[in-house]
Amino acid sequence: MTTLTLAKALNEGLRRSMEDDSKVLVMGEDVGKLGGVFRVTDGLQKDFGEDRVIDTPLAESGIIGTAIGLALRGYRPVCEIQFDGFVFPAVNQIITQLAKMPLRSLGALKLPVVVRIPCGGGIGAVEHHSESPEAYFTHTAGLRVVACSNPADGYSMIQEAIRADDPIIFFEPKRRYWDKSEVDLTATGLPLDQARVARPGADITLLAYGPMVKTCLEAAAAAAEDGRDIEVIDLRSLNPLDMGMVAESVKRTGRCVVVHEAPVFTGYGAELAARITEQCFYHLESPVLRVGGFSTPYPPSRLEEYYLPDLDRVLDTVDRAFAY
């Protein structure tokens, strides 16, 4: 076991993938000498060379489009989108090409492309640097969408994502990049599509992923002091969803609150609520409630503490769930 930050764990995961498979490439803006603005690719270009760690022109559509071409030639590109808000120029290549080309080829083509996206707010940044665009991708058939929440998962999940033969949108909670925890550098083979009980509990189920897992754990700890036993599930994979674990938990607790940073309206939480309600209808003591961003663009940073779900808003919603 080693203690690593999430950024460093991802860096180690990338490094190991590149060592294991010479077809793995890293590409994006400033991923080379700079090591990425969050240093997730730090040192990789020095060790693997400019042909495998590619500083690209400043064009996100170009990054994904050429990554597709490289994948068609047998490479396994790992693309970095510098910030969540800059994925949109690449959305056409992601939605119309990356997601659909395998089906278009009737299975002849595989596109093992990983698109890494630092996501979410809470770092006091300017506009476009704090977005949570996961719902755009979970709604896009043909993509797998995952989000890591801690160093150990980051280390393992990035390697599994690179090993997978499907295109994967890989979300990294940027405000957790500097959080540290124990990582087993020898761990391998964790399935990419399994959720994780981050904290077992009996009274209500909190569903979260990425940055909100920590917030939910804190909320659960606070609630425990008041004698409320909250279960927190870290979904890890958003598409596909580990519905087995989710349904088991909600049926057991009878109540569920979903937490994410993205706007609630047509957000990923809507899918969770709708699906859970359908599958657990007779077990629900209250409707599945959602805590998330408002139906507004992400606000300037001096307002983000109001915008982002925090311990208080989570617990307030938990209370609302118990009020039914």
Binding site: T56, A59, G62, Q97, P102, L109, G142, R144, M243
Partner: protein, 363 residues
């Protein structure tokens, strides 16, 4: 653009032509081509056969057997010329109109019909033919071609890619980004733009004020305009550009100056936006007629040869038709296949539920 001329940003101002509309062989200082009689005849045969496939597809559409068809009528020389310039190791990235290039890459024509008939979105294995799937989203494939070319570089392979696109496509951000990437990485890629003068109803002036081949100069690589109805010139110019690419001299933009003699697709009605005269003028530049005239004049082929090719074309047309009608409709299970390479629980669930639902009707 000879290989020893400076590979700068200036493209030659004239149309490269090796065969006039009247079938006269002409010389060009930078391009030449040596072809055996047999090769010339086989080029002719290809032109005729792909036109025939195209006509058959249009007819199939008219009869309701295809949902739509994008005709290559008039663009045969651009496609056969460039397509025959490719080596087996080269990789082609087509739009939705490259039936002639597909022919050069040994893709069974019936395979092309699947997507137009609506039985699939693309019916061949790109790796088997080094011919990528048809791409409908304008311009997207140019970036794939550059990425693939970057892979070739990393493999140290002796190969290049060719990216096909239309005049309208030159306006897309992706196409321009692909020029940047190709230039910056010196990627072995040839950009082959068939300027057929129209993007559906929009004439070239809506996309560019200057000749399209000059676009390359803004990105630091050579552009050349070739007579797109001259199969010799298309072959020669593409061959040289591919060779340059393979030798590490980077990308070239080729503008094949040609004409869309038919409608944009079978859904389109060009009488709404263009005058008939234009088509008449271009008919005089027909790519097949000029090669036929050349073969005749130079006694490289007799009537018997032409008749034989026509007969072969007819047989091919019939065969394509027959096999088109035989294309099986996909089963509903196909909805859920090949979406992901690995198992996907959500899709499994949806499939199982849906097939159970469908089974309910059979009872």
């Amino acid at each position: 653009m000879t290989s020893d001329a400076p590979r700068g940003v200036d493209a030659p101002p004239e149309l490269v032509q090796l065969l006039t509309p009247e079938g006269e062989r002409v010389e060009h200082p930078d391009y030449d081509i040596e072809l055996t009689d047999e090769e010339v005849r086989s080029l002719y045969r290809d032109l005729v056969l792909v036109r025939r496939i195209d006509l058959e597809a249009v007819a199939l559409q008219r009869q309701g057997e295809l949902g739509i068809w994008a005709s290559l009528l008039g663009q045969e020389a651009a496609q056969i010329g460039s397509g025959r310039a490719l080596t087996d190791a080269d990789m082609a990235f087509p739009t939705y109109r490259e039936h002639g290039v597909a022919w050069c890459r040994d893709v069974d024509p019936v395979r092309l019909l699947g997507l137009f008939r609506g039985v699939n979105h693309g019916g061949w294995d790109p790796a088997e033919h080094n011919f990528h799937l048809y791409t409908i989203v304008i311009g997207s494939q140019t970036l794939h071609a550059v990425g693939y070319a970057m892979g070739i570089q990393r493999d140290g392979a002796e190969a290049a890619t060719i990216a096909y696109f239309g005049d309208g496509a030159t306006s897309q951000g992706d196409v321009n980004e692909s020029f940047i990437w190709a230039s910056v990485f010196n990627a072995p890629v040839v950009f082959f733009c068939q300027n057929n003068q129209w993007a559906i109803s929009e004439p070239l002036e809506k996309q560019s004020k200057i000749p399209l081949y000059k676009r390359a100069s803004g990105f630091g690589f050579p552009g050349v305009r070739v007579d797109g109805n001259d199969v010799f010139a298309c072959l020669a110019v593409t061959r040289k550009a591919l060779q340059n690419a393979r030798e590490g001299q980077g990308p070239t933009l080729i503008e094949a100056f040609t004409y869309r003699m038919g409608a944009h697709t079978t859904s389109d009605d060009p009488t709404r936006y263009r005058v008939a005269d234009e088509l008449e003028a271009w008919k005089l530049k027909d790519p097949i007629e000029r090669l036929k005239a050349y073969l005749f004049k130079n006694q490289l082929a007799d009537q018997e040869f032409f008749d034989k090719v026509d007969a072969e074309a007819d047989a091919l047309g019939k065969d394509v038709r027959r096999r088109c009608l035989e294309l099986p409709d996909p089963e509903p299970e196909a909805l859920f296949q090949h979406v992901y390479a690995a198992q996907h629980s959500l899709l499994d669930e949806e499939r199982d539920q849906y097939l159970t639902y469908l089974a309910g009707f059979e009872r």
